[in-house]
């Protein structure tokens, strides 16, 4: 190991050691007794806050991942829709349009959907129904475009719609925009929830700090009298809150991680069900939280622990000011 690596390793070990609960609150020499700060109820409340925050953050992450995948797919595909008209041989029209499209630059593949395939797309809405074939179902042609050399979609649309009056080109832009709107509002909702959870956590820590200081008033007085500064007193309290934050944060995030691990299974079971389940599934994709998602949960723990520590620190400062 190089010198730098050794130094870095020892620094990391030192940092780790300094945040492990054992060294933070070695019961026999903590100036502020740990039990006087962290009741079980405080840990439970913070753990629940962290759990909610993790669920929210994880869900937002899942949705945005699956929306990303969606928009990617949509972007490399465009569709031509041919509206049915009376007295027209639809099959022939479809073939003609497909041939026309295949000749256009930038188009890599043209695959007309058969009547059956088109009908199958409508199944979730209309149910399995042999009547569909007799309905005037619009026909679709899926076109894969060359992403390296994107075709001039506007030109293509104009050319297509001039040549074939019943054809309509759909470059999915409206869809993409809609998906983006949905994801954005979900993310916004998620952020609102996170902000509320953070505010509730801060309020909880402040009141816990106040009561911890009240029950340790005598200790604070003695510390002042032997020459302790506010920073020292704050750090004596803050280390307990850091431990509570880490412990409760891990509990909450662990529970959330369990939920996310079981989610694909739950969705799979639901998947047999009706339209709602199918829609839900579409929103979440396969609902498997990727490593980045678990990292997001970890970040939530870090934020909860830091919030707990910093809030108590500033709480102690503010309350000490009122003492003198």
């Amino acid at each position: 190991m190089s010198v730098i690596e050794t130094v870095r390793a020892s620094w990391v070990m030192g940092a780790l050691r300094s945040v492990t609960p054992r060294s933070l609150v070695r019961a026999h020499n903590a100036i502020v007794p740990h039990d006087s700060v962290s009741g079980r109820s405080l840990t439970v409340v913070i753990a629940i806050m962290c759990f909610l925050a993790c669920l929210t953050a994880g869900a937002v992450h899942l949705v945005s991942q699956s929306a990303n995948a969606w928009t990617q797919d949509l972007a490399s595909e465009i569709t031509v829709q041919i509206n049915p008209a009376r007295d027209v041989d639809m099959e022939k029209q479809v073939t003609l349009i497909a041939l026309f499209l295949a000749k256009q630059p930038g188009v890599t593949r043209v695959s007309p959907l058969s009547v059956d395939q088109s009908a199958r797309l409508l199944e979730p809405w209309l149910g399995q129904n042999s009547e569909i074939a007799s309905l005037p179902v619009p026909r679709l042609i899926a076109i894969e475009i060359d992403r390296a050399a994107l075709p001039d979609l506007e030109g293509l649309r104009v050319a297509l719609e001039e040549t074939f009056s019943m054809a309509k080109l759909d470059d999915h832009r409206r869809w993409q925009a809609e998906i983006r709107t949905v994801t954005r509002s979900l993310a916004l909702g998620g952020i609102t929830v996170l902000v509320l959870v953070a505010a509730a956590t801060i309020a909880t820590i402040i009141s816990a700090t106040r009561s911890a200081m009240a029950s340790n008033r005598e200790i604070i007085e003695v510390l002042h009298l032997v020459g302790a500064k506010d920073q020292f007193i704050a750090s004596e309290f803050e280390r307990h809150f850091l431990v509570v934050g880490i412990r409760a944060g891990l509990m909450g995030a662990g529970a959330a991680a369990l939920v996310f691990t079981l989610l694909p299974l739950v969705l799979h079971l639901l998947g047999q069900g009706g339209l709602a389940a199918a829609e839900f599934k579409r929103l979440l994709g396969d609902a498997i939280l990727d490593p980045l998602g678990y990292f997001v949960l970890f970040l939530v723990v870090v934020v909860v622990a830091a919030l707990s520590m910093l809030t108590s620190r500033y709480g102690v400062y503010a309350i000490l000011k009122t003492y003198s």
Binding site: N29, E218, E221, V222, L225, V226, G227, D230
Partner: protein
């Protein structure tokens, strides 16, 4: 080093406990503070270690006026003062050793730095075998000695002791007084509040006498 000018003090809306207190203590001085019970000895000491602010008049500690200072600066001043409280004020959940080490610990010093000093001092005050006991199980005299050890561990420039010999036998009282005398020789100014006439006769030192809220200096 310490100067009081026309200091008066009242608790809340009560009567003035101390009135027109004027005195001046030089570095390296040694005084007894005496007077009948309720005369205000503890109150005067509280002014000296800045647990109280004077209702009127001016106080100077080490040339500085504590009322002008930030809490951080007052903490720095307190580190130069050792206090033995009449009611000891030991922390019940810390061992005797940890209580005595507290003034050093709050300065952020490394424990390895002062470990031996604390142990040695505890042995000197006769608590060598009670180091790891908690205050709750110490006798009154043992608590008193622990409180004294905590007051002197930081080698303060000013030592204030409120009835430091109230709970020990005359022999131990003598021994503790000699600790104060030793400290005094090393340059620490000492103020000891006491009722103990015998002790004051034994150690012939000037006396600050409180009576009816007024202070006179004898000797």
């Amino acid at each position: 080093m310490i100067r009081f000018e026309n200091v008066g003090l009242r608790y809340g809306m009560g009567p003035e406990v101390l009135r027109d207190i004027n005195f001046h203590l030089l570095p390296g001085s040694f005084h007894f503070l005496t007077g009948p019970s309720g005369a205000g000895k503890t109150t005067l000491l509280r002014l000296l270690f800045m647990a109280l602010r004077p209702s009127r008049g001016l106080t100077y500690l080490f040339g500085q006026n504590p009322t002008d200072q930030t809490t951080g600066e007052r903490a720095e001043l307190r580190r130069r003062i050792g206090v033995v409280f009449q009611d000891f004020r030991l922390l019940d959940h810390l061992t005797t050793w940890q209580n005595v080490a507290l003034p050093l610990r709050v300065t952020g010093r490394d424990e390895a730095d002062y470990k031996d000093d604390v142990t040695e001092l505890l042995k000197w005050v006769g608590l060598g075998d009670r180091m790891h006991a908690f205050p709750a199980i110490l006798s009154g005299g043992e608590k008193q000695r622990a409180a004294i050890a905590r007051a002197v561990i930081g080698k303060p420039e000013l030592l204030l002791a409120d009835e430091p010999t109230g709970n020990v036998d005359p022999q131990m009282a003598n021994r503790l007084l000699r600790l104060f005398v030793e400290l005094n020789k090393l340059g620490t100014s000492i103020v000891i509040a006491t009722h103990d006439q015998l002790l004051m006769e034994q150690f012939k030192k000037p006396q600050l006498v409180l009576h009816d809220g007024h202070l006179t200096i004898r000797g």
